[in-house]
């Protein structure tokens, strides 16, 4: 394994890890903001309890997203210096803007929200969490603009003398059609994740701690489950458009998603395949006729280009080489992404059914015990869907780091040896592993603890001596 392979593994590890926390942050920021808004509007204490309870889980998760995010910004320069030189004129701008416009908002207003319960007027305090929530979306939008440029480079020219891509139209980069559809898809994925987590924790309490704060948990379960369901609808709609955009700008990725070697019209979509996916006849494949044509083109008899034809086309255009991504990985991650997401939404539907019209699920029934299992799976399924989705997106772009412009093999840092990359990979893997144990431990502890008591503390004699509403 050479330094580039190691650097790719490292990017995969730290980025997938980082993106476990990001969607939870985005989704839960809005749900917590919603709970707090409900409290400010209605004065019903259950919403305050939910705000504080889920707010705590949100913060435990947020810390991990922040610290693993620093690595993301540094590693382009550390491990991918040739990439950075090539794309910096274009790719750097959204990153800098993400920091200036979004990170400052998120971190500053989150500090105000955490510590400001007794320092800020109620409505201004509420505004802080909404600013944080929109900050997370802004942040996602900028980084997705940057990523979309790697999938579909637009608004640039190549300066051969400097050996780099140069920006010619920033508006084209911001309105890249891949970005415009990837942003809503990713945000919807974040809501699937946040909603699933909120619902799952609430259902666990309804089942395992019956009779305690039932009203609060019922509301949380319903809000979380509805969020998950609506998010799944949004994911399907945006994913559908994404497939068509992908067919247009990265046809090889679409062909790889189906392991479709020869151009077909109409093309079927296989739910799963038993076999090697190397183009030889599969042992068995469960196929839905014409569906891939619909996913790729919007018509049931559209033509979908196959891997072999695209390979020949790319060789003619870009010179000899292997232009196929890792087919088994793209094939399976694409299916798993859809499957995990769909399963999450089915569990959410079940949660709504079990809590309909004032009903409370009972753990002593078989349905209740099954639902408990569902509740345990519900927070994990969206995380798996997010991860497989991104692995598909990034692995499906290979061998390119910038589609059609720069190959991944050319992008790593020449001055960084394998030893350095191995060192950092070991450091990050061990550290991230240990932090995962700590983080999950804390999440479980605080999730099990349940909603807090929100009766106001006894007042001290003077304002000066009153203890802080919150302190580290």
């Amino acid at each position: 394994m050479d330094a580039t392979d190691l650097a790719r593994w490292q990017f995969g590890i730290v980025t997938v890890y980082h993106f476990l926390f990001v969607p939870i942050t985005i989704g839960m920021a809005f749900l917590v903001a919603g709970f707090q808004t409900a409290w400010v509007r209605t004065g019903d204490e259950k919403w305050l309890k939910l705000t504080k309870f889920y707010g705590k889980l949100f913060l435990i998760n947020f810390a991990m997203g922040v610290v693993t995010g620093i690595v993301q910004e540094f590693q382009f320069g550390m491990n991918w210096s040739e990439y950075s030189r090539f794309v910096g004129d274009i790719f750097g701008a959204p990153l800098a803007m993400e920091a200036l416009l979004a990170f400052f908002l998120e971190s500053t207003f989150l500090g105000l929200w955490i510590f400001g319960w007794d320092r800020l007027p109620k409505k201004i305090h509420l505004a802080c969490i909404w600013i944080v929530a929109w900050g997370t979306v802004l942040s996602a939008a900028f980084i997705l603009v940057a990523n979309s440029w790697m999938q579909n480079p637009v608004g640039f020219k190549i300066n051969t003398e400097r050996g780099r891509a140069e920006l010619t139209d920033f508006w084209a980069v911001l309105t890249n059609k891949v970005a415009l559809i990837t942003i809503p898809h990713t945000i919807a994925g974040a809501f699937l994740t946040g909603g699933g987590l909120v619902a799952a924790v609430a259902v666990w309490h309804l089942l395992r701690r019956p009779g305690r704060d039932t009203a609060a948990y019922r509301s949380a379960a319903k809000v979380g489950a509805w969020t998950t369901l609506v998010a799944m609808v949004a994911l399907a709609l945006t994913g559908d458009v994404q497939g068509k955009v992908m067919t247009e700008v990265q046809p090889m990725k679409m062909a790889a998603a189906e392991a479709l070697y020869t151009t077909e019209q109409p093309a079927p979509f296989s739910l799963f395949t038993v076999g090697t996916l190397d183009g030889s006849r599969p042992v068995y494949a469960l196929e839905l006729p014409d569906l891939l044509s619909f996913l790729a083109t919007g018509t049931f008899d559209g033509q979908v280009q196959g891997i072999n034809d695209l390979q020949a086309e790319y060789e003619a255009r870009y010179g000899p080489g292997d232009y196929k991504p890792n087919i088994p990985v793209t094939y399976w991650t694409f299916r798993l992404m859809i499957g995990f997401g769909a399963l999450a939404s089915l569990i959410a539907l079940w949660v709504l059914w079990a809590t309909r019209k004032g009903r409370a699920p009972d753990v002593h029934t078989r349905g209740g015990r099954l639902l408990l299992g569902g509740a345990l799976a519900l927070p994990l399924l969206p995380l798996l869907a997010n991860s497989t989705g991104w692995i598909f997106t990034e692995m499906g772009r290979q061998p390119w780091i910038v589609f059609g412009q720069m190959k991944t093999a050319m992008a790593a840092s020449p001055s960084v040896g394998s030893g350095d990359v191995i060192t950092s990979m070991v450091v990050f893997t061990l550290l991230y592993g240990a932090l995962a144990v700590v983080e999950v431990g804390l999440l479980l502890k605080y999730a099990k603890a349940g909603v807090p008591d929100v009766s106001p503390p006894p007042q001290a004699e003077s304002d000066q001596d009153r203890p802080l509403a919150f302190a580290y």
């Binding site: 913060l59 435990i60 810390a63 991990m64 922040v66 610290v67 620093i70 690595v71 540094f74 320069g77 550390m78 210096s81 950075s84 030189r85 910096g88 004129d89 274009i90 750097g92 990153l95 800098a96 803007m97 920091a99 200036l100 416009l101 400052f104 971190s107 500053t108 500090g111 105000l112 955490i114 510590f115 400001g116 800020l120 780099r164 140069e166 920006l167 010619t168 920033f170 395992r208 701690r209 840092s413 020449p414 001055s415 060192t423 950092s424 450091v427 550290l431 932090l435 700590v438 502890k445 605080y446 099990k448 603890a449 349940g450 009153r466 203890p467 802080l468 919150f470 302190a471 580290y472």
Partner: protein
């Protein structure tokens, strides 16, 4: 003024902001076991920066992003060349950030002690290594004709750079002690003031040697002016640190002392950038051809123009709301302000 020079200035401003703000965060972190003699005191120390440390840290992310956008060659060469020190900085910042958030989440002395050490490690390491890194940037490193770094880890550990690291370490320590004095009441405040006086003298001596060495390498009227101002501000801050407060006999002139150390750090960073210009990363090998300069490392004027507009509009807004945060949390805190640890979640059956 050419746009690449504007961006050189803006990046200098971003790093100045970072070192002034996160400088006291690092100092506070390093002093955690020194000034916090029991858990309640340690919580006072941490909570002096509780609401603001994360926002302060964004300055480095913005500086890094701006470097990537405005000077991709600088970003690429520097971050790949300074690989292992940056890895250590990342490790430190990760541990520190998590520790602030997680330390109080279990009522368990061992748990807390471990995270206290994460905070100390996470503050000492970057406080030292940022100085090493910036001294090396000013001093220059071996680059080849393709602007690739050709040295190794030990190239970076030269005496000038190590002195730079010691300078930032001591400056941030002093800055942090004065910040704690500025933000607390009672016993901690007095001990922080006393400590600041002692560490401050060492910081001043080391900083002066480092600044003299810096301007001796490559002096311009501007860099000399900044270096002198840095030294004067630091001395002024330390004098204020010894003067009794007019309102509170227990305290000293902490506001002025803090202004002094903040200005000293700002002018020291300015002196480094003034020494550096027009290079962004000089090469010690064939400097005339291999050095990275504002001209050969920068992005296109079109990118810089867009970035300039964005920076001009949004930087003042950021400064406004960050400043507002400091206003909201302006009150001093003491041990009596620290709430009891949240009652440990009652663990009934699971």
């Amino acid at each position: 003024m050419p746009l690449h020079t504007v961006w050189f200035l803006l990046i200098a401003v971003l790093f100045t902001g970072y070192f002034v703000l996160e400088g006291f965060d690092f100092g506070v972190g390093m002093l955690l076991p020194v000034l916090g003699r029991d858990d309640r005191e340690r919580r006072v120390v941490i909570n002096t920066i509780g609401p603001v440390w994360d926002g302060n840290e964004v300055w480095i992310l913005t500086a890094g992003g701006a470097m990537f956008a405005a000077f991709p060659e600088w970003y690429a060469t520097l971050f790949s060349g300074f690989y292992l020190p940056l890895l250590l900085i990342l490790l430190a910042l990760i541990l520190r950030g998590v520790a602030f958030e997680y330390r109080g989440k279990r009522d368990d002395a061992v748990w807390k002690r471990r995270f206290d050490w994460c905070i100390v490690f996470g503050s000492v390491v970057p406080a030292f290594l940022w100085g090493v890194a910036f001294a090396n940037i000013v001093r220059g490193v071996p680059l080849d004709a393709d602007h690739q770094y050709t040295g190794n880890l030990f190239t970076l550990l030269n005496p000038y750079a190590l002195l730079g690291g010691l300078t930032t370490l001591l400056l941030f320590l002093t800055h942090g002690a004065i910040f704690i004095a500025l933000k607390t009441v009672g016993d901690i405040r007095q001990r922080a003031n006393t400590l600041a006086s002692r560490v401050g003298v060492a910081a001043a001596l080391v900083a002066v040697v480092f600044l003299v060495w810096t301007v001796a390498r490559h002096s311009t009227p501007l860099s000399v002016t900044f270096a002198v101002l840095a030294a004067l501000c630091l001395v002024g801050g330390l004098i204020a640190n010894r003067m009794p407060s007019r309102t509170d006999p227990q305290g000293r002139r902490e506001g002025w002392a803090f202004t002094g150390t903040a200005a000293a750090i700002a002018f020291a960073v300015a002196a480094l950038f003034a020494t550096l210009y027009p290079d962004v990363l000089p090469s010690t090998v064939d400097p005339a051809t291999n050095s990275l300069t504002v001209a050969n490392a920068s992005s296109t004027p079109y990118t810089l123009k867009i970035m300039t507009w964005v920076a001009l509009v949004f930087t003042p807004i950021v400064l406004l709301y960050q400043g507002w945060t400091y206003w909201v949390f302006r009150k001093r805190i003491g041990t009596h302000h620290i709430p009891e640890p949240a009652p440990a979640p009652a663990h009934t059956e699971a």
